[in-house]
Amino acid sequence: MTEKVYDLIVVGGGPAGLTAYLYAKRALLDVCLVEKGPIGGQVLLTDWIENYPGFPEGVSGFDLIELFKKQVEKLGLEVKYDEAIDLTVDGNLKIVHLATGEKLKAYSVILALGAAPKRLGIPGEDALIGKGVSYCAVCDGPFFRDEIVAVVGGGDTALQESLYLTRFVKKVYLIHRRDSFRAIPILQKRVRGNPKIELILNSVVREIHGKEKVEEILVENLQTGESFKLKVSGVFIFIGLRPQTEWLKGKLDLDENGFILTDKNMETSLPGVFACGDCVAKNFRQIVIACGEGAVASLSAEEYIQRLKNA
């Protein structure tokens, strides 16, 4: 018996993967989506999105993904809720190996793997996840009503989530290792104008203390070398992203941080394998960029599959 061969496998069900899937279905490709968690990816961790065009009032991450999902479901959404753990090549075919042992064959693969929040890697962090250490303000913020929390980071996410947390908490210490923020000016303006947010610049968190839950953090001022403790019950960490590409090492070219290198058609160093979204090596990571790349990857994959079939 010959095993089923898909035209295309899309790995990852965030905005990039769902857009790639949408374009593939409209090209009448036989396509399968692989997702290890819930459909949506990091967007589900976002409370309110104000920079996705077409939503003048903004939209919640969950609602935006529901709309994406609805659009592909209309065309037929086939999902394997499983984790991709290996990618191999067999002649013209690519094989995606899943954690449960299943092997999916296809002519082409699109990697829309997204990224996960980076950890600080300091004492107390891992042990107190879910007990005050958080990477998702929208999930966990309401547990800190009228309490004092710290936010670590200086990019868009750190500032946006600090602002979100002020709805619940008494006070936010926004701790950033430099003296200026990377975040866009509109967010900086809002943060500086918010009386609940106190900036602690040129400083890093060295340790998180607490037994059953977060009780205090040890902060070091990098300019003066002085260390001090802050009583907080929550530490929200937004210091950037790490790609989930360990399983691809040696299979295709990655940059020094593990992000996937692609050409202008979103093709990786492995012919017929494309990548899009936050897992790609680039300067900017935004939902709208992920979607754009998803479309490019899908159209490129379609061309690649046509060439193979016509050969």
Partner: protein, 105 residues
Amino acid sequence: MACKVTDQDFEKEVLQSPIPVLVDFWAAWCGPCRAIAPIIDELAEELSGKVKVCKMNVDENPITPAKYGIRAIPTLIIFKDSQPVETIVGAVSKATILNALNKVM
């Protein structure tokens, strides 16, 4: 479907259950919670008779989440013989939840 439990019937439904219980602590404002809801319902069907699968809304039921020190959702806790034996924080895959359940079944 997963059954709903409250602060009032938690003792009876979860702690006194003769079989292991998976409790999904969730809230309507939490995207990842809503996203894993279908997985939780699937598990309720597939494990029927072996594991009881319940959901507790943390907004409507503040006492039990506080008792178990929940500071993040979704949090899944597996109870066996009235004790919490496994805790999973965050939206994880069905396989991860099944692995944890297999240890207690």
